[in-house]
């Protein structure tokens, strides 16, 4: 299933946030959205996931979601959004219960996704007992449980310290290798973008427009920190963003 954005624009009251964004997100690829803070990249992600409606333009699903997909467009949030009163296992089963999946079927799915995210030993732990990295792995396990057609990741690693971030990036790469998934990955961290993105979409500061689309041909499993190709792409992206980021930083926040 592909996703197509057709000239999406958005205003919050008087403030123009996004201007005329047209973009194709092909199946099986990770598309990273980068841009200075306040450029509307998270808003764009919420449009794709149907949590908000753009002022104009359309978000289209091309083709049917694959068989057995419970929730085609599935988010992974920056703040994890785990229910603190449910165990790891309960947090995953939450998203299955509404689809009538209970008992042994649910158990099998939960076991599978917890194994894939290396959480099997923590099934009965409460979120308050987990570190940030583990919490995000639970959120990823929960997302995998509904077998999504497209994963919408909203700065999933931004709340974590840099070591944990490295580890989780490795986890994401190995997850993708085992079973390539489609993802839209919003981040302000260029290192994450060049590590995980097949395509990197650079947005300008508010009102957000597409400035540049950068593709990286190195397969993501072969990318290493300090890899010359990735480093060149990283520098290119930073050159594109430097001035914008500075200007965005000096803007007043209104409303």
């Amino acid at each position: 299933m592909d996703i197509r954005l057709e000239s999406v624009s958005h205003h919050y009251g008087e403030t123009e946030v996004l201007r005329d964004i047209s973009l194709d997100i092909p199946a099986g690829q990770i598309v990273c959205l980068v841009g200075p803070s306040g450029c509307g990249k998270s808003t764009l992600l919420r449009f794709i996931g149907g949590l908000e409606r753009p002022s104009s333009g359309r978000v289209l699903q091309l083709g049917e979601a694959p068989e057995g997909c419970l929730n085609p467009l599935t988010f992974v949030f920056q703040d994890f959004a785990l229910l603190p009163w449910r165990s790891v296992c309960g947090n995953v089963s939450l998203v299955l219960e509404d689809h009538g999946i209970r008992g042994n079927r649910a158990k099998a799915i939960i076991e599978d996704v917890l194994t894939r995210t290396k959480l099997s030993d923590f099934a009965d732990a409460l979120p308050k007992q987990l570190s940030g990295g583990m919490k995000q792995r639970v959120a990823i396990a929960r997302a995998l449980a509904v077998n999504p057609a497209v994963m919408l990741m909203d700065e999933p690693l931004s709340a974590l310290d840099s070591q944990t971030r490295e580890l989780l990036m490795d986890d994401l790469v190995s997850l993708w290798n085992r079973q390539p998934f489609t993802a839209v990955y919003v981040t302000h961290n260029l290192a994450e973008a060049v590590r995980l993105g097949h395509t990197i979409v650079v947005l300008s500061r508010r009102p957000g427009k597409i400035r540049e689309i950068v593709t990286i041909d190195t397969p993501i499993e072969d990318r290493r920190p300090g890899d010359p190709v990735c480093q060149r792409k990283h520098d290119l992206l930073w050159d594109l963003m430097r001035e914008e980021a500075r200007a965005a930083d000096e803007e007043l926040i209104d409303g």
């Binding site: 996931g49 949590l51 419970l70 929730n71 467009l73 599935t74 988010f75 949030f77 703040d79 959004a81 229910l83 603190p84 009163w85 449910r86 939450l94 998203v95 219960e97 509404d98 409460l126 979120p127 308050k128 929960r142 509904v146 919408l152």
Partner: protein, 274 residues
Amino acid sequence: MADTGLSRNTNTAGPMEVRFRGGGFAPKSRRWVGVLVFVVLIALIQWGTESGWISALTLPKPTDVLATFGELWQSGLLFKHLQPSLTRLAVGAAIGASAGIAIGILIGLFSYVRAGLVPLVAAIFPIPKIALLPLFVIWFGIDEGSKYALIAFGTFTPTVVATYGAVDNVDRSLIRMGQSFGLSWLSIVRKIVLPGAMPGILSGLRISLAIAIILLVAAEMLGAEYGIGAYILEAGALYDLERLFAGVVILSLLGVIVSASIGMIERRVLGWRT
């Protein structure tokens, strides 16, 4: 320069341990202090009444109150008074609290209900419910009905306010998460909003139930033969301080028991809180 001179002076004074200044402002559990305060206070009153600088008209002797309490127990009157009071408290508070939680949740969930009922609740909250007792007697009869109504009404408003506040405070990002996984409206309410509002609802109940105990005495002002409230009011009318205090102590104990049981429920149900 003055600065360097100063620093040189302190340097010659040799190494000095950094003064600790991060203490306090961190409440710790010190259970026995509470008991100690009670014991000291009661001992003081006992000594005062015995030596005579507290007159018998001001305060009764704690030992006399205890004796009265013993009589009450032995004659079986204690349970004769306690039983109807506890029934009134339980029925009234149950009606008031469950209605309050239900309305509070509706206010929290629906904008129209909120717009319609929040001003109404604000209007009835400050009414001293005792003032309405004669009215309740006309509406619900002089028997148990008016007593249930008074206690229910008194617990209702604080419960409503606490509940809709608690629903408002449920983490919006969790609700968003529920929506993003395609959970039904009912599932979101049942599995996200209600458990998320639980801490606020329980702390609201603490206040509501204390108010229920206050109103118990008021409810028994009219047409009650038995009941802790009736007992206290009768003792007050006769200026029988021992009995008055025995009754007051029962109410205090009731309050402590209610508060402790809510504490227990909180520890059981809200173990997930950090």
